[in-house]
Symmetry: C2
């Protein structure tokens, strides 16, 4: 087992300003703060700016981005942070904001553009700048993960990978996630649930990934329905953030499986929220995986221990449990209207494309070409939302 580090974490309401003593102690003089555009306007950032000023730490802010990270945007950010000679990095937002901030924490100690680190083209510098990451959604687990999703100059989704990009400190301030609407809370939460589930059951699942995964599942099944029912429930938000970070630690060690394979492939067809697509892909495949485990005692043991973690006597009850759980989280199983013309052949092509195969082969049951065709047919038969 190679078990990557889990960063130090401060987890409590109104803890955002706890970043300041950390940066002071590390001697940071000019901080680069990358935040989601909405978060940049939030009143919650005002005390942080004041505390940084009181500590005489300069502040360069950036929030001029939309959607997932792209190289051209990284060029802009890298030029800015180098020109300003920033010596510390803070990210506040969803997975995209954190991924970009994490990449900056290593490009600032190197002379290279981000391209040079894409898909591990070059080794990362051995140490990053002092960094603090603050997720405002509970889903990607980017803050505890070595993977940073970014598209190359041709628009191909890939990543910059390395434990060096993990933050020195995570802050989980549940107040920052109370404004997330129920549907997004549900989709992000399902993403975290499935991270934990797939990392605990895929072919590479080992004791450490399963440890983090099981604990994440235990928190998420209790907290997610509550966070959806009452978005202002700070305890539920706090537990979802911890569950998401643990789920991130689990996939950081052994990756995901076919639900993420489907989700990444669907996203190339038309816009769909990552958590939504993952939840759909998970529900469509879980029963099929479990039906195929007979005789594979090692795989059954992984599913059985998940079942027991979730209070079930038999792993064959997991598909019904998951569907009931998704019901309790009000997860919409219909496809976005952008999928009204469902291109089955293109999805099959994507699911067979070289760069997606690592998730396919990690799956507990062999995902044959016939299985892929069957999965695609079932996805295409899902209802489509009214325009």
């Amino acid at each position: 087992m190679n078990i990557s580090a889990f960063p130090a974490l401060i987890a409590r309401p109104n803890s955002l300003c706890d970043a300041v003593p950390f940066f002071e102690k590390r001697g940071v003089k000019k901080l680069f703060l990358l935040s989601d555009p909405v978060m940049a306007q939030s009143p919650h950032l005002v005390p942080l700016r004041e505390a940084l000023a009181d500590a005489s730490i300069g502040l360069i802010e950036f929030s001029d981005f939309a959607g997932e990270p792209k190289m051209a945007k990284m060029d802009e950010i890298i030029a800015l942070t180098r020109a300003e000679a920033c010596d510390g990095v803070m990210g506040i937002g969803g997975g995209s904001a954190l991924d970009m901030a994490k990449i900056v924490s290593i490009t600032l100690v190197a002379d290279r553009p981000a391209d040079d680190y894409w898909m591990m083209a070059h080794p990362l510098p051995p140490q990053s700048l002092p960094s603090v990451m603050v997720p405002t959604t509970a889903g990607t687990g980017s803050e505890s993960c070595s993977t940073n999703i970014i598209a190359d100059r041709n628009g191909h989704k890939g990543w910059v990978w390395g434990p060096e990009t993990k933050p020195d400190l995570i802050i989980h301030d549940p107040v920052l996630s109370t404004s997330l609407p129920a549907s997004l809370t549900g989709w992000c939460g399902m993403d975290a649930f499935i991270h934990a589930f797939e990392a605990s059951t895929n072919r590479y699942a080992h004791a450490s990934a399963r440890g983090y995964g099981h604990q994440a599942l235990r928190l998420i099944v209790k907290a997610l329905p509550q966070a959806i029912a009452d978005g202002d429930d700070l305890d539920a938000r706090q537990m979802m953030l911890l569950g998401s970070a643990w789920a991130g630690a689990a996939i950081d060690q052994v990756g995901t499986a076919v639900a993420h394979h489907i989700s990444h492939s669907m996203a190339t067809l038309a816009p769909i929220h990552h958590g939504h697509a993952t939840a759909i892909g998970f529900e469509v495949t879980l029963g099929w995986i479990i039906d195929g485990l007979a005789g594979d005692e090692a795989a059954i043991e992984k599913f059985q221990s998940i079942a027991e973690t979730l209070g079930l006597a038999d792993y064959r009850d997991l598909p019904q449990f998951v569907s009931d759980f998704m019901d309790s989280c009000q997860i919409d199983r219909s496809l976005p209207v952008s999928f009204a013309q469902f291109d089955k052949d293109k999805l099959i092509e994507q699911l067979l494309a070289d760069h997606t195969q690592s998730m396919r082969v990690a799956t507990a049951r062999e995902v044959t070409e016939d299985a892929i065709k069957d999965i695609v047919t079932r996805l295409a038969n899902l209802p489509v939302q009214a325009a």
Copy 2:
């Protein structure tokens, strides 16, 4: 919740030499290696020395110590490492070796003696030298902990504390622990079991400590009897090392409780293995704690979830489970012959002494003075080993 970091970890047989590329990457030129005297003679260290030489990393070795860390020994080590200008630290051994090596990793970047950091007299330097810790026993969890036990110049047991002393990398090479005799495997393993149990149930137990604690318990109850029955079972040794490190992470966040309070106090009376004393203190008090929980729903929930983690329906079955588990681990409940003259009054005095109160007050049930007297009577009634 303040959740301290869990270091990166390599966990596989014959992984000791994986330290070398880590030190190379971090630019270390002269490594200080502190190892247990027995380990220094072990053939397992030969390939490590060769790999360091091949990587042109200088090596200063030290293993001239016995028993728990003392300030005079630290003076000697600090003088040596400063004179040699070591720029990286590796510890191989039990808790004492690792604690001393962890302290060196911060004194080498500061001008102060170790005394200045004892009981947090001064803040630690913000960063330590690159360090790798390799536990050869599965018990203390020192490698994942901020606490480093050391006696001051008057012989009072205390500690140097700080997350800065944690290693950058842990190596769990189960081959190194196969030579540990069954009795020591059992005592160390019970120490880890009780770390996990107390951190999951004490007054400060929170979601993160309980997450690490529960996962540790799940591994330890499976692996410890097996590691005792067959010391060469590398899987069992590997899982015990991981369970011990997770248990260390759990106490790192919320500390221990009355079993450790008893153990530390007993150790001042006469020589007794820490794990042995802790196991005895745990068994003597667990039923008493559980009998006193009625009405304290928050405390009951913590014990009930431990029970379910261990496969029990009711938390009131925990004392019997623990006694059965200790039987299966062949834990001797008699006192060492050094306790033939049991000084009850001195033990009571120790249990009421100021510096031990943090463990006492952390306990789920209030440990009154009357309770202490009753506990001491029960300890004094234990059989004493034949001389």
